[in-house]
């Protein structure tokens, strides 16, 4: 039997005397974390398995021979690797790093590629380290500018933990009753906060998955809305779904239609948890910010599509949007 929520707060050792969440230090939030890291020589396939089994979308890559972290490996890097290997992405020779050249060479030779060549491959969301004393306010600011996670380092260079947008959101929501400054913004509606803007990358359900991945990559977004012929939202493909392609070598899924792919991903996930999820993770355009955050926290996704009453997509609320708003509200 679990304790009521109020007792849980005390057990977490949070000093409740100070309600300004922006002043909390990063080390407090990563206390007790056993961060997952991947050895630099692990194959990409095994690195994906590690991410999948740990239920995370990113991990630091550690090179024991150089005794240092060489980058982060996430699904964005995996996607870039897949597109490069399939020659669906062209990076001019002069823009290729040594690691990228080596990776391309190895994959052309059909050799195993060690994850150290793929870390930070996408060029987006590179390894970003912060000291353990860094204040949460600064981290939230970073999150609002598009950084998805930071590696929290102790002064001796050891990894204390990883703070992701998801984990910080979860923390703020669990302690919401203590952070009175946050409560007014929770009551605002999505349109009031400018989150209904229909600038959303979408793809038709019949398009190939590979096309969707290419579109995500070239448009620099982490997910794409899947629509039917009437423009109604029927599903979503995000970079994290690429883990299902790597698992058990289902590479051929790249050539399925987006709708078939969405279906397969959902079916796989539901068996693992014994609970099926609603096919579409969305929020109504009239909902409050607080409700959207509660749903983001509960479903653990990185964005919710905003839909109107007809099921047509009217916008998106991503974790980056959330932190941009929270950051703006703390400044005022």
């Amino acid at each position: 039997m679990s304790l009521p929520d109020s007792l849980n707060h005390h057990r977490e050792g949070l000093t409740t005397s100070h309600h300004d969440w922006t002043m909390l230090q990063a080390k407090k939030l990563v206390e007790g974390q056993k961060p997952v890291q991947i050895d630099a020589n692990t194959s990409i396939e095994n690195a994906c398995e590690i991410l999948h089994m740990s239920g995370i979308s990113c991990a630091p890559v550690y090179d024991a021979s150089r005794k240092q972290y060489v980058g982060m490996f996430d699904y964005g890097d995996l996607m870039t690797y897949v597109l490069l290997a399939l020659k669906k992405m062209d990076v001019p020779l002069e823009d290729q790093s040594m690691e990228m050249r080596d990776l391309i060479h190895k994959s052309r030779q059909h050799q195993q590629v060690p994850v150290k060549l793929a870390s930070d491959l996408s060029g987006k969301d590179p390894f970003c380290a912060v000291l353990a004393e860094t204040r949460l306010g600064a981290i939230v600011n970073d999150f609002g500018s598009g950084i998805h996670r930071v590696a929290v380092m102790n002064s001796n260079g050891e990894l204390a933990g990883v703070l992701s947008q998801s984990s910080v959101l979860d923390f703020l929501m669990r302690h919401l009753s203590e952070f009175s400054h946050l409560q007014p913004v929770m009551q605002k509606t999505l349109p009031e906060l400018g989150l209904v803007n229909s600038n959303v990358l979408s793809v038709n359900g019949d398009a190939q998955v590979l096309e969707a991945l290419m579109a995500m990559s070239s448009n620099n977004v982490t997910s794409v809305a899947v629509l039917d012929d009437q423009g109604v939202l029927i599903g979503n493909i995000s970079m994290a779904d690429i883990q299902y392609i790597m698992k058990d070598l289902k590479a051929s899924w790249l050539w399925l239609s987006c709708f078939q792919f969405v279906s397969k991903v959902r079916q796989s996930r539901g068996v693992e948890t014994g609970e099926d999820q609603y096919p579409i993770l969305d929020v109504n355009a009239t909902a409050t910010f607080g409700y959207a955050l509660a749903k983001l926290q509960a479903t653990k996704v990185h964005r919710l599509w905003v839909v109107n009453d007809n099921g047509l997509v009217a916008g998106v609320v991503s974790l980056t949007d959330v932190f941009k708003i929270l950051s703006a509200h703390t400044d005022s």
Binding site: S2, V82, H110, L249, S252, S263, S268, Q277, Y278, A294
Partner: protein, 357 residues
Amino acid sequence: MVLDLDRCIESLFKRQLLAESVIKEICERTKELLMNESNVVHINAPVTVVGDIHGQFYDLLEIFKIGGYCPDTNYLFLGDYVDRGLYSVETMSILTCLKLRYPDRVQLVRGNHESRAVTQTYGFYTECMKKYGSPQVWHYFTDLFDYLTLSVVIDNMIFCVHGGLSPSIHTIDQIKVMDRFKEIPHEGPMADLVWSDPDPGREEFAVSPRGAGYTFGSLVVEKFLHENGMDHILRAHQLCMEGFQVLFDDQLSTVWSAPNYCYRCGNLASILEVGVDGERHFNVFEAAPENERPSAAEVQRAAMFANGIPTGLFSGVGSNGAMTSSPAAGNGNGNGASSFLTTAGMDPTQDAIHYFL
């Protein structure tokens, strides 16, 4: 059209599909029947309650063997008849026929899978297309789903629903006045009844990780039972390894009736027998015995259904670095083990898509 329901039921027990025109007729007639049912149907014990079946037809036959055949046994089915299993069409067909044949002995409650959006994602639509060559049968059944009741009360004491409770619903009367004859909405009380889950770690409602409905805790359960003068909530919707689960000091039970879910979870299943004195007994059972299971080919297709490609589809494909089907290919530092991606630009999925559809 002259309909011989007994003949239909007999054929279905032998897993023979009914003609499209027959499906149309039975759906039309069942809708007329269901139209007169309240959103809260009151019945009396004895009754045997069945949880999620998910197209596992052979396990449904097992349920009749263990629990007794209609009309000798009264049945209450709590939804999720379709999706995931290989025989959603046969399962739904036989249950519809049984309801039509013995309307007072069979109750069918709507589950979250009895919905157009969900059945397009989780397999029922695809199965209809495969078995009938057109989406008509899927349309007939999904239109029928709009008529299924939302809840049942046994002996005024046990509230039965597919998912769980809703923050918008405090009394049974509120359920009675809802308009249920439509596709399940994304949000609102109707969605909550079919999507919600109990959370023994909580006291109140919280947003559900499923993306629809809520999780609800002990205080919510106590309040609902007290306000409505009942002593138990019975629902399905969540996989139980032991076939059932009892929570909140025996105020709520989950019954799950699909053993070895998706033909690979290895779980037990159960049916709940409610006696005239209110006794509740979970009759636990395993997946149907070997000789009545789907053939090896069908199980392989089921695995493919879940995984995409049968293993071995690509073994023997050309030597220039084509995809390997062996999971060992991803292993660490094997010499010369090929990368799983082919750069030859060929599309080996054509065969796979042919199988899948």
